[in-house]
């Protein structure tokens, strides 16, 4: 497969066990191509953020790893075995985007049920402590808020001491405190050697948590690397400053991709930041608070997926 943005393996990615692998996998649903020769590994102790626009193939990739669907061609391995073998899935935890758990059961009962599928699960009180769900333990699932339900689904995902955890949009509906708690737990799990595959539309989440980012588009891997490596793929930089220069005028300058005023400060995205800064200083001698930084993951993601479209 030709990769338009090949990035060399990073320090973390060498000499570690591969827990999940898709090798040249093709998958179609009728006339729709979901995956077109995707090759992707998940390694022990890394958090891999799987990013891509809707229909990029993220959900299909995860469904293949979980044995929920079969590839048309190519190889899918989970813990070195077929994902259809229950033994391989006993090392996996999963939090799906849509999973309507039984509303009549209490939280501790749901955890007890999920834990019964694993050979050596965490004790209930440890699961509740790990996921900060102690206060929910005796409540019926159907009576919980959307964010609390996501916390319970997370508890179910981690109760089996997984070596590999699939988290699909885990923080949708969570308040800030609950989201930060989940992030902290995710970091602890990675630190203890657990690998995590995270799909999210919150690029800030991927930027904060991910060791490695894989960007999919049209069923192909279009970029893979650390967050910094992905960001550096895109030559854009962001410029911020306080200035009275008209935004419309800046938008007409060469190399300016976008300009806006937010809370009184100019925000400019440019492909040649140095040239833009020279123009800014020439146009406004009283310009203040000048900052220049590489484009964020969201800008890189937008650029990469636009190229692939």
């Amino acid at each position: 497969m030709s990769d338009p943005h090949p990035i060399q393996p990073t320090r973390q990615t060498l000499s570690v066990e591969i827990l999940a692998r898709l090798a040249d996998v093709h998958k179609r649903y009728g006339s729709t191509v979901a995956l077109a020769g995707l090759t992707l590994d998940v390694r022990q102790g890394e958090l891999l953020a799987l990013l891509g626009p809707n229909g990029a193939g993220k959900s299909t990739a995860i469904a293949l790893w979980l044995g929920l669907t079969q590839p048309d061609s190519g190889s899918v391995r989970l813990l070195g075995r077929s994902p259809l073998e229950v033994e391989s899935r006993r090392c996996v935890g999963v939090m799906m985007q849509e999973a309507g758990l039984t509303p009549e059961l209490r939280v501790r009962e749901l955890i007890d049920l999920a834990a019964s599928y694993y050979p050596s699960p965490l004790p209930l009180k440890d699961v509740l402590a790990l996921t900060r769900t102690e206060a929910l333990a005796s409540r019926r699932y159907g009576k919980l808020s959307g964010g609390q339900k996501r916390q319970v689904q997370f508890a179910l995902a981690v109760c089996g001491r997984p070596r590999l955890l699939f988290l699909d949009e885990p923080t949708v509906g969570l308040d800030i405190q609950a989201r930060e708690t989940m992030w902290r737990t995710v970091r602890d799990l990675v630190a203890s050697g657990c690998a995590i595959v995270l799909t999210t539309h919150y690029l800030e989440e991927a930027q904060t948590l991910a060791d490695r980012v894989a960007v999919l588009a049209r069923g192909r891997l279009i970029a893979s690397g650390t967050v910094d490596e992905i960001r550096s793929v895109v030559g854009r930089k962001q410029i911020r400053c306080s200035s009275v220069i008209d935004v419309a005028e800046i938008s007409r300058w060469p190399s300016v991709v976008g300009a806006a005023r937010d809370a009184g400060r100019l925000q400019i995205t440019a492909t040649d930041a140095e040239d833009v800064v020279r123009r800014l200083l020439a146009a406004d001698a009283h310009l203040r608070d000048l900052e220049i930084r590489h484009a964020g993951l969201s800008e890189a993601f937008a650029e990469l997926t636009k190229e692939a479209a």
Partner: protein, 260 residues
């Protein structure tokens, strides 16, 4: 807070696998028990209806043999509801909600989900039938002795497995919204055309053989020595119920394994 998650062993002992089956069945039972829309129509309604029709309307006006047949018909009716509705409708809903997909992704023992649903549906069928017997007993009009009740109930409960298979097939092939309606399309005609509540006219008698409830009642009447109404060849009834169970159950499980 425990943050270290050691590598799990992949193998599970037989006792732990058995425990997983039992826990699955336990929570399926609790789920059903805490669902009023299941408990009220299927556990409470048959006994209440028998009290109203079987005792208040017929009491003292018909021979005890007719009361026995009426009791038998109500028992099969009571058992048929949880068996037919207890698997397929929740399965269709859980397929829609993503719960069934999650169960497939989790390392649950193979078949634990369906085994638990079947065991609990059959258990509720037995409980529902029990409410009719208890109603008859406490109303002072129980025409069957203990051994007759036991034999009748055992055969009826065994026969409801065929209805579980039929319900499963409906649940696999329909959405959560459509499953109750489709199940009713089978349930309601079956109740009346199996001759559970009144003797069928000769024109309908030959059609009764297509309904599982007819064969369940025929076998149960014969096993419990209830009246003289068991006229159908029991071997043929067993063969038909076995065929319904294997064909509908097999087709449903094949579809589930392929497409979820």
């Amino acid at each position: 807070m425990p943050t270290s998650l050691p590598i799990s062993s992949r193998s599970m002992s037989a006792s732990r696998v058995l425990r997983a089956y039992l826990i699955e069945a336990k929570y399926e039972f609790l789920h059903k028990l805490r669902t009023p829309m299941f408990v009220i129509p299927f556990l409470l309604l048959p006994g209440g209806l028998y009290l109203l029709i079987g005792l208040l309307v017929l009491h003292g006006h018909v021979a005890s043999a007719v009361v026995a047949l009426m009791l038998a018909g109500f028992c099969v009716f009571a058992a048929a509801g949880p068996a037919l509705f207890g698997i397929g409708c929740p399965l269709a809903l859980e397929r829609d909600s993503g719960l069934f997909t999650l169960k497939r992704a989790l390392p649950a023992p193979k078949g634990a989900y369906l085994v638990a649903k079947t065991i609990v549906a059959v258990a509720f069928a037995a409980l529902a039938m029990g409410t009719v017997f208890v109603t008859a007993r406490f109303a002072g009009n129980m025409p069957l002795n203990a051994s007759q009740v036991f034999a009748f109930a055992a055969v009826t409960v065994a026969g409801t497995v065929s209805l579980c298979a039929l319900g499963l097939w409906i649940g696999v092939h329909s959405s959560g919204a459509a499953a109750p309606g489709l199940t009713q399309l089978i349930y309601l005609p079956m109740l009346y055309l199996s001759g559970l509540f009144f003797p069928l006219p000769k024109t309908l008698l030959s059609w009764a053989a297509i309904w599982p409830a007819f064969h369940i009642e025929q076998l149960a009447l014969r096993a419990g020595h209830v009246g003289q109404s068991a006229f159908f060849d029991p071997k043929l009834s067993i063969a038909i119920l076995f065929a319904i169970t294997t064909v509908f159950g097999g087709l449903a499980m094949r579809r589930l394994a392929r497409a979820g």
